[in-house]
């Protein structure tokens, strides 16, 4: 910093002071640690407030009343119409929720900033909304989301907890609380929130998938497999469904499998049979219909159906032929040579995580592009 001293020159002194003042004004400040507010608030305990104090502060509270005539005209009109309506039907008085308009406005502004992907700007609006109306679980929840987006995970959890205190059945807060615990590898805490969600919405995809992960981490195979099965019963597409199948298969459960069809890995329910029947179980048929539709729409594909039946080549052959016939009946437009069948009297072997599985009875389906010679 170049500051020249000349005690005899007051003007120079003044100039030096001005540059110092400017330097202090623009001096950068450090941010406190992220958990600072949490640390303070965790040590703040409610004061014992006497009834006298409470009344004193309630009556000495500052009250602001504003009146905007233009704003009141529609409100008065509505009130008048409502009065007429209620006068006619006194037994059918609707119960209107009380909405704090100022809080709602702050909340909407906060949500809008979040939607614009600017959580830092959203924070003050959402905090203001809560200050104006602490009774709305939504406000606390979205404040939690904004905290998450700004990396303040402790306050994120506290906000979800506040939302849940107001409304223990506020499911979005349970879902996000579960995610938050998952990120911290607090598996048991995470699962309790996902369970709550699933008790209300049994097919909630995110909660089902994450439950599967959590149970896997906890080594609870039965619960894990149930979670994957339930998840796949509702979701068949996307990378997470492929993961779910892989997890299930790696646990030795093959009721579903993945198949390359049309250049994509897809989830298919396994084709299963009762005893030595040639016809598959009815619940297996949708997978065949799904595979057949793809072949019909993409005639440049060749569908392979491979049937494995350990020590029974004849049964394997009959099953393979039945499956081809069935698909051609559903989709008469498919050319016969677009489906190729094979059968083996050996078990099908599959490997997951260095563990080998041997399936005595199995049907493998996949498709490849027809190479024209």
């Amino acid at each position: 910093m170049e500051i020249k001293k000349n005690p005899k020159n007051n003007r120079n002194d003044h100039k030096n002071h001005e540059s110092l003042k400017h330097a202090i004004e623009t001096l950068p400040e450090l941010n406190p640690p992220a958990n600072f507010v949490h640390n303070v608030m965790s040590q703040v305990h409610p004061h014992n407030v006497t009834i006298f104090d409470r009344l004193k502060h309630s009556y000495s509270r500052q009250v602001t009343i504003s009146f905007v005539p233009l704003k009141w005209i529609p409100a008065l009109t509505c009130a008048f119409l409502l009065f007429i309506l209620l006068y006619q039907n006194p037994d059918q008085r609707p119960v209107q929720p009380i909405i704090n308009e100022q809080a709602e406005l702050s909340y909407i502004m906060g949500r809008s900033e979040l939607a614009k992907n600017d959580p830092q700007k959203a924070l003050p609006y959402l905090k203001a909304a809560i200050y104006q109306d602490r009774t709305q679980a939504d406000y606390h929840f979205w404040l939690g989301v904004a905290y998450w987006a700004t990396g303040n995970y402790q306050l994120e959890k506290e906000s979800y907890a506040a939302a849940l205190q107001l409304n223990p059945n506020f499911l979005p807060a349970h879902v996000y609380m579960g995610h938050s615990y998952m990120e911290k590898k607090q598996w048991s805490d995470a699962i309790s929130h996902y369970k709550k969600v699933l008790s209300q919405v049994p097919d909630h995809a995110e909660s089902l998938f994450n439950s599967g992960i959590v149970y896997r981490k906890l080594g609870m195979r039965v619960e894990e497999n149930a979670a994957w099965t339930q998840y796949l019963a509702h979701t068949h597409t996307g990378p997470q469904s492929i993961d779910a199948v892989n997890y299930l298969n790696s646990n030795g459960v093959f009721s579903v499998q993945t198949a390359y069809i049309g250049g994509q890995k897809r989830v298919l329910k396994s084709v299963e049979y009762k005893g030595n029947s040639i016809e598959p179980l009815p619940e297996s048929l949708p997978s065949l219909v799904q595979a057949g539709k793809i072949i019909k729409d993409k005639p440049n594909l060749l569908l392979h159906i491979i049937v494995y039946e350990n020590n029974d080549k004849d049964l394997a052959r009959k099953r393979a032929q039945y499956l081809k016939k069935y698909m051609l009946e559903i989709y008469p437009d498919i050319e016969t040579n677009s489906i190729r069948t094979s059968w083996f009297d050996t078990p099908r072997t599959m490997q997951f995580n260095r563990k080998q599985y041997s399936l005595d009875s199995s049907v493998q389906v996949f498709a490849e592009k027809i190479v024209k010679s």
Binding site: L30, M41, V44, H47, V49, S60
Partner: protein
């Protein structure tokens, strides 16, 4: 439209028994109080502990706060007293420890933003401020960084307005002298 609850409103809520309302106070003033402590200790962990103590002391004594007065001044005074106590306790420590602290000052100051245009200038200003006695230093911060009036500063430090003005002037002089000495040293 942005709603910003006034300090009096928040404190009235706290006094009515809503301890959670105090969060608004902490969130609003955490930065200046933390920075005051950081300027005092030159150590982020110690600064966080002292700032935390300042807020807790304010909360414990909130019944003594007179509604209608400036809360920030009241809070800052509490924090300043804590900072002074901390400095006093440090004086008792050994010279060896002081040398260590001096080193720590230099090391810790590097945590200041390196993105500023005049990084080295910022560092030297920070150093110059850090070496000022706390009463001179904080007067400068309150005046130029926090934009408080001389009247407010005088009330906060329990001195006369002319005394506050004098401290500002002397603080600036001391800073200038320090910067000049370090420049000559280099």
């Amino acid at each position: 439209m942005m709603f910003n609850p006034g300090d009096d409103q928040v404190i009235a809520e706290v006094l009515r028994g809503d301890s959670d309302a105090f969060r608004f106070i902490v969130e609003k003033y955490e930065k200046p109080i933390f920075n005051l402590m950081y300027r005092t200790t030159c150590n982020q962990d110690e600064a966080a502990d002292l700032a935390q103590d300042a807020f807790l002391r304010a909360y414990e004594n909130i019944k003594k706060f007179k509604l209608g007065k400036k809360f920030y001044s009241w809070l800052y005074t509490i924090a300043l007293n804590l900072a002074r106590d901390h400095m006093r306790s440090k004086v008792r420590e050994t010279k060896f420890h002081k040398e260590q602290k001096k080193d720590a000052k230099v090391a810790d100051n590097t945590m200041l933003s390196t993105e500023t245009e005049n990084y080295y200038e910022t560092q030297s200003i920070y150093q110059a401020l850090s070496q000022l006695p706390i009463d001179y230093r904080e007067v400068l911060i309150l005046k130029y960084k926090n934009d408080l009036t001389m009247e407010d500063i005088a009330k906060m430090l329990d001195i006369s307005v002319s005394g506050a003005k004098m401290r500002v002037r002397r603080g600036l002089d001391k800073m200038r002298n320090y910067l000049e000495e370090t420049d000559n040293g280099n």
